[in-house]
């Protein structure tokens, strides 16, 4: 089945489409930027243990709330002294300036922001990709069946779609995650467990003679419930697109011909209708990955994600320090914007080249 799908995708991308893709790529600088950003984010996510300077969870309370390079923060601190039961407040101004070891500064517990942003990429992309895959696996078959059989089946399935559309994706996601708890799956990180990360980090030396501290996290937490929920919440968009395509394709001559030759419905859907609806589904997938990255960050911002290593969570933490250290909330946000811009640019490129005509579909946060 998967092999058939891959052929279909390759097949669908007839030379003309590939030529379209390439010409679109060459002509528009925006597409190049988009693909560039996406590659950077992908590499960061995959090779996080090598790229992150510090262990994202390593705390150092002595250097908490350190500003990013190029900024200094004059932080005045108040401590209390209990003199015979009476609480005295002592004022002191502490000058905190950036260090090269923490280019993006540190958060309230002294954890390195850059490392957390790097690992955050992994969470966001993992949820984005897996969530989209799940939504696709659920939505596309339903859409194809609805489109192919039309009549009552179509109506029934589309009413189900309407019901799940009746809930804004974020509200439904919050409800499901809030109620089902935030189960997370500990996934071993091959780069670290094989010692590869430690080896490489040992060799590479940082500017100023510092060496990479080793001891990166052995496992990586995948927010299981969030991925499931995000998939459930977004299947509708795939169903709508797949149904649209199936409706279009089912009346084509070659489909009638296949049916006349005695092909079973199931065979026809798999053999004829599915391959032809791949392109719009592919384009929708890119839009969905962007939408899900935004959705995941919103969920973790509200505290509904299974892992603390995610951009949304750091932004929420940053809110506490909004008066004293603005960068704790700013940095992860910029990472989200950059990633989503990259994905959207690639999405536009695919849509312009393949022109599946699905303007405006796809759930936002």
């Amino acid at each position: 089945m998967i092999r058939r799908l891959l052929d279909a995708v390759a097949g669908r991308l007839s030379p003309r489409t590939v030529q379209n893709l390439r010409s679109e790529f060459d002509t528009s600088p925006l597409t190049k930027i988009g693909v560039g950003i996406l590659v950077v984010v992908l590499v960061t996510a995959v090779f996080a243990p090598l790229l992150a300077p510090w262990n994202p969870e390593a705390q150092n309370l002595d250097r908490s709330q350190q500003p990013p390079l190029g900024f200094t923060s004059a932080e005045n601190q108040t401590t209390q002294e209990t003199v015979d039961g009476e609480v005295q407040l002592i004022e002191e101004t502490v000058q905190v300036n950036a260090t090269v070891t923490h280019p993006l500064g540190t958060d309230g517990l002294g954890r390195d922001m850059l490392s957390r942003v790097v690992y955050g990429a992994r969470t966001s992309l993992a949820v984005g990709v897996l969530g989209t895959l799940l939504a696709m696996l659920v939505g596309v078959p339903v859409g194809l069946v609805a489109g192919y059989y039309k009549g009552r089946v179509d109506d029934a399935l589309m009413r189900v779609a309407d019901v799940s559309l009746a809930f804004p994706s974020l509200v439904l996601a919050i409800a499901l995650v809030g109620l089902f708890g935030q189960a997370a799956v500990e996934v071993p990180d091959p780069l670290v467990t094989t010692g590869l990360a430690a080896a490489i980090r040992g060799i590479v030396s940082l500017p100023g003679g510092l060496t990479y501290p080793t001891g990166m996290p052995e496992t990586f937490t995948l927010p299981g419930t969030v991925i499931l929920v995000v998939g459930i919440v977004n299947w509708v968009w795939f169903a709508r697109v797949a149904r649209g395509e199936a409706l279009g394709v089912r009346d084509e001559e070659y489909v009638k011909a296949a049916r006349s030759l005695g092909g079973s419905d199931q065979f026809i859907i798999r053999r004829h209708i599915l391959p032809n609806s791949i392109t719009p589904v592919l384009v929708l997938a890119t839009i969905q990955i962007a939408a899900i990255v935004l959705l995941e960050s919103a969920l973790s911002f509200l505290g509904f994600s299974g892992t603390t290593l995610s951009w949304g969570f750091d932004i929420a933490q940053g809110r506490q320090y909004q008066t004293t250290s603005w960068w704790i909330a700013a940095m992860p946000g910029l990472a989200i914007v950059l990633t989503v811009i990259g994905i959207n640019l690639v999405g536009d490129w695919l849509r312009d080249a393949l022109d599946p005509g699905i303007e405006g579909e796809g759930g936002g946060v």
């Binding site: 009746a166 809930f167 804004p168 809030g178 919103a298 914007v337 946060v365």
Partner: protein, 343 residues
């Protein structure tokens, strides 16, 4: 009844079916989730006997369909049961929160529509010029920015750093502000519109100050989306034959653009706006969390955290129903603008 009326009826019936579906899904959800609401009410060390008594008082022991029946019937009478935690009635509490959310959603939509339609038209009609590039970059950034982060940044910049806007909260609602103006003196002395404009202006200013940042936070994604759609829609329409024919008739450019091209551009835009309404309400929920805006959004988040089922069900039914109603309205608007669909 014209075909439009028949369409409206059929669409509304579909809407009712969907709302019923929403209620059933919600009800089923309760039986699938772990943990029971009793844990949240019973004191820390309640014995099993007390737990059973609480369960009974909440009607949890009756069979599934009886509870479902009671729920639907009570819903029709506008009753949504009592909150497990605060024991107060759910319906008035949920509907008291509705104006705050509606204010935010409407303010954001108004901001979005007023900004995005002209922006989209300008960038479509004056291609490859300053405004076109600005609009494209802005709209691209707009759809790629998570609205809660935008909210936090706006607060840090405008509220904390420059103190121009309040950081959060909604001390006075729009209705209360308007309330100052309109005091109906009653039929006997004729409807009087007093001139105590002072408090009205103060209240309006207070409301506007508090709603600006949340409206921008919520509205940005929408503005960006509609700008992009209007722009690409206008570009398509301006290439159509009837535009050339209209110009050939001697119609002035403004007429050609707004009465013909824009009108046909709005049709697909409205459909997408209808589809993306979920994002608006979803966005409202998170914007309320960022700005402590006392709307349905913050109510739902607390309800879910406390597993306060009647409150969850009540709020979600209102949101689901509101969403379906708005969708029916959007479809009706679509059909009115695009008669061909009625065939």
């Amino acid at each position: 009844m014209g075909s439009f009326g028949r369409f409206l009826l059929k669409r509304s019936l579909q809407g009712v079916v969907v709302i019923l579906g929403v209620i059933s899904v919600l009800f089923a959800l309760r039986y699938v989730t772990p943990g029971s609401p009793v844990d949240f009410i019973a004191p820390l060390d309640a014995s099993d006997a007390t737990r059973r008594r609480i369960a009974e008082s909440l009607g949890l022991n009756q069979p599934f369909y009886v509870q479902y029946g009671d729920y639907v019937v009570s819903l029709l009478q506008g009753e949504m049961g009592y909150s497990y935690r605060s024991r107060t009635a759910v319906a008035p509490r949920v509907f008291a929160k509705l104006p705050a959310t509606l204010e935010l959603a409407v303010a954001a939509t108004v901001v979005a529509v007023i900004l995005s339609i002209p922006l989209g038209v300008i960038s479509a009609t004056r291609r490859h010029t300053g405004p076109d590039y600005a609009a494209t970059v802005f709209s691209f950034l707009g759809i790629s920015t998570p609205n809660f982060w935008l909210g936090v940044m706006l607060v840090i910049l405008f509220a904390v750093q420059f103190g121009v806007f309040p950081t959060s909260g909604r001390p006075v609602g729009l209705l209360d502000a308007l309330g100052h103006l309109v005091v109906i003196a009653g039929p006997e002395r004729g409807w009087a519109l007093p001139l105590n404009v002072g408090p009205f202006l103060a209240a309006m200013q207070n409301w506007l100050l508090h709603v600006t940042l949340p409206a921008i936070t919520l509205g940005t994604y929408f503005t960006a989306l509609i700008t992009r759609l209007t722009r690409s829609g206008m570009l398509d329409e301006l290439g159509q034959g009837y535009v050339q024919a209209a110009r050939a008739k001697g119609l002035p450019t403004t007429l050609v653009r707004y009465r013909h091209a824009l009108r046909n551009t709005l049709i697909p835009v409205i459909t997408v706006v209808g589809l993306q309404l979920g994002t608006l309400i979803g966005g409202a929920v998170i914007t309320e969390a960022v700005f402590d805006w006392p709307g349905l959004g913050s109510l739902i988040i607390d309800a879910i955290n406390n597993r306060d089922w009647p409150l969850i069900q009540g709020s979600l039914v209102v949101i689901g129903a509101g969403f379906v109603v708005v969708n029916v309205v959007v479809d009706a608007l679509y059909v009115r603008l695009n008669p061909r669909v009625l065939e």
